[in-house]
Point group: C2
Chain length 164, copies 2
């Protein structure tokens, strides 16, 4: 038994896992440690891994033409953060279909929320869906994820307090 136990528990919650499957996965999986602020992939690199977070919190982000960062997704313990291109090839497909499927559904929901809800409601919905992330993440990253400026998020939060 290794530190990978949470990963295999997670997988078994989704799909039946034979011994052979597990052995195959162990060959392909390794544990990496990062310190705060460190990049999982270096600037400009192509990501060659699928990451399952055992401990801590990752964010996937991109930098636009103006140099502004935009958070694409967060991942804390028990979550996947995905490049989706390389690692999947050659592994038994059924491990990841459900995971990708859920990620896809979540992504579509986010598209929908971004175009149909004002900033205040987006923040409220995020806070309800991910109460742990609200406590854990700095506000400017949440603002980035929600597609608004940190200043405006600050004003939204103030207004929500006044609503009480």
């Amino acid at each position: 038994m290794s530190d990978l136990a949470p990963l295999f528990d997670h997988l078994r919650n989704h799909v039946p896992l034979t011994e052979a499957d597990e052995a195959l996965l162990r060959e392909r999986v390794g544990i990496r440690r990062y310190r705060k602020g460190q990049f999982v992939t270096q600037h400009g690199d192509v990501c060659r891994h699928e990451s399952f977070v055992l401990q801590g919190c990752l964010q996937q982000f991109f930098t636009d033409a103006d140099g502004n960062d935009h958070v694409v997704m967060f991942a804390t313990e028990g979550w996947w953060i995905a490049d989706l291109e390389s690692f999947l090839n050659g592994t038994p497909a059924r491990f990841f279909r459900l995971i990708i499927q859920r990620a896809y559904i979540a992504s579509q929901r986010r598209v929908v929320e971004n175009v149909s809800m004002p900033a205040k409601e987006r923040y409220q919905a995020f806070a309800e869906r991910y109460p742990l992330l609200i406590q854990r993440l700095p506000q400017y990253r949440i603002a980035s994820y929600l597609g608004m400026s940190r200043e405006f998020l600050s004003k939204v939060r103030k207004q929500l307090l006044e609503d009480l």
Copy 2:
């Protein structure tokens, strides 16, 4: 050979397809015809199908609390339009992993574009990526997909013409 040929051609482009696979799929697949404006799923229903478009053009949309429609995705010939919940269960997973994977990547790109690009650039990017859709779809649907009002899209287009 049936009218389903384009579907099987499409699948064979992605994954090897045994006779048994094909037989299994034929059991589960049927052809449906719709007329213009008709709904694939009726209002309030849960969609129980994955649709592969043989001919024509579908849109997936939702109606928000204010009664406004928002286009989530389009699908023309050779595209899938997905509920992703029901049909997949019980079918060999590998048929659809790549398809979902690509849809997920496209959805993430869209999230990113929506928060990082102004309306004009979103339209330009859409026009470059889907030149056929630009010709084929009415502008108010494109506007809905891009998350802007039809009026504003009209102004964006005018400005793009003036840019020449």
